[in-house]
């Protein structure tokens, strides 16, 4: 699933190179540092990229990735292959480490039910951050991909709550199924669907406000 290159780092002692995720995590459970290095190289970039989207900033990502991998080192023997894939388990740990960072910086209040958050009004969204504006009406070339509006989409995704953003990222960035996302974020599968619905609705509102939604509709 990962096409990220592995970074170079110091060599570590270990045994034979495990070939599957299960062998890898079992070797880590035996405190095999070479296997742990392999796991790190394989998953740290993916976990970090996900956390970067969740946190919306580079600050704190390295720490959250290392916290995640440290938890993996300490609890590798607890991984149950019958409960899901290794990546699901890892992203579940990473997600909660990411939320912890958000709580620490005060960007996320756990006591506020996510799906009852008031909808983002267009004025609020505009006040929060400098939103990219379509300087001219998008032409057919721009609307061919409809959502292919890099800066605007990034801005719109940043307006979503962490939980809505995480559902979008895990679905389209990590190709997770909704039951897997439910395990990662710790909620029922139907809640994942509901969050996706609200996330897409808010994205549509935000993009429409910047002129891109209408352009997409004009495509037909």
């Amino acid at each position: 699933m990962s096409q990220y290159p592995a970074p170079s780092s110091r060599p570590v002692a270990g045994t034979a190179t495990p070939s599957t995720d299960l062998e890898l995590i079992r070797a880590v459970a035996r405190k095999d540092r070479q296997a742990f290095k392999q796991l790190y190289d394989q998953y740290a970039p993916r976990i970090g990229s996900y956390l970067l989207k969740l946190l919306k900033q580079h600050e704190g990502v390295s720490e959250a990735v290392n916290d995640t991998m440290l938890a993996v080192w300490q609890n590798a023997e607890r991984f149950d292959p019958a409960a899901g894939q290794l990546s699901t388990w890892l992203f579940g740990i990473a997600h909660h480490k990411g939320l912890k960072v958000l709580w620490q910086v005060g960007k996320f209040r756990a006591d506020q039910p996510i799906d009852t958050l008031p909808p983002i009004t267009l004025d609020e969204a505009g006040d929060r951050e400098e939103a990219p504006q379509a300087t001219t009406a998008p032409g057919p070339e721009q609307t061919v991909m409809g959502w292919e509006l890099g800066a605007v989409l990034k801005w719109a995704l940043d307006q979503l709550s962490p939980e809505h953003r995480s559902v979008i990222e895990l679905t389209f960035g990590e190709d997770c199924s909704y039951p897997e996302i439910a395990k990662i974020v710790g909620c029922p599968p139907n809640t994942v669907k509901t969050r996706m619905f609200h996330a897409r609705k808010k994205l549509a509102q935000l993009l429409a406000q910047r002129g891109y939604w209408d352009a997409a509709k004009l495509k037909e």
Partner: protein
């Protein structure tokens, strides 16, 4: 392109299928769910439009992710290993702190030489015995020694005699006389030198007071031997 209804009514079959569209796009539905979505989309223009929007969103998110790949810094893994080394150096100390008093005492005793351990055990046993004796005073045995004035030590049964020994009688002779009649001095001497001697009961053959008196009066170490009446 039709307008996509965004206000969600109570979930029905259409809404259920619409909610699955993002995962139809990323290929993460079960075969049964995939077939259901495909059958529905053939007949539902709204879901087809939603599907198209999902595809565009997926493409945009993936493109955005390619532009924003996070990579660890060269020192990140080394820092992680250093953290692990620090944590793994701690457990002995942390475990010692979390031990109960009993566990710590047991560990300390385990590291103590045998001789010291036995000494400590004996000391503790002695202290425990003393504490027990103090705590349970009623269980102490009655002292064996009693003075002649102690009423509790006196036999209550048996004929009693009043005896005055000769001044020249030695201790050995008195003891021999008492042994020969099986008697015991239970009181005396009074100011006049009178002893009370009680005769045994149940001895076989049981000496009669008259016989004993005859025997005693025949001895030169006895100045006086008289029976004491019952109640007297």
């Amino acid at each position: 392109m039709p307008t996509i209804p965004m206000d969600r009514p109570a979930l029905g079959a259409h809404e259920e299928i619409e909610a699955l569209l993002p995962w139809y796009v990323n290929g993460a539905l079960t075969p049964a769910e995939t077939a259901t979505v495909e059958r529905h989309c053939v007949e539902c223009p709204t879901c087809r439009a939603e599907l198209e929007q999902c595809c565009l969103l997926a493409a945009a998110v993936q493109r955005n992710n390619i532009d924003e790949i996070w990579q660890p810094s060269p020192g990140d893994f080394d820092r992680l290993l250093a953290d692990i080394d620090r944590l793994e150096a701690k457990p002995a100390f942390v475990a010692a702190r979390s031990l109960t008093l009993f566990q710590r005492l047991r560990d300390w005793l385990g590291a103590t030489p045998n001789s010291v351990r036995w000494t400590l055990a004996l000391e503790n046993l002695t202290v425990a015995g003393l504490l027990l004796a103090i705590a349970l005073p009623l269980s102490r045995p009655t002292p064996d020694y009693e003075t002649l004035s102690s009423r509790a030590g006196q036999p209550v049964a048996g004929p009693r005699l009043r005896v005055i020994f000769a001044n020249a009688a030695t201790m050995g002779e008195i003891q021999e006389i008492l042994r020969s009649i099986g008697g015991s001095i239970v009181a005396g001497p009074t100011a006049l030198g009178v002893y009370t001697v009680v005769l045994p009961v149940g001895a076989r053959p049981e000496p009669t007071p008259a016989h004993v008196l005859t025997q005693l009066r025949g001895l030169h170490q006895i100045k006086l031997a008289e029976p004491i009446a019952e109640g007297g």
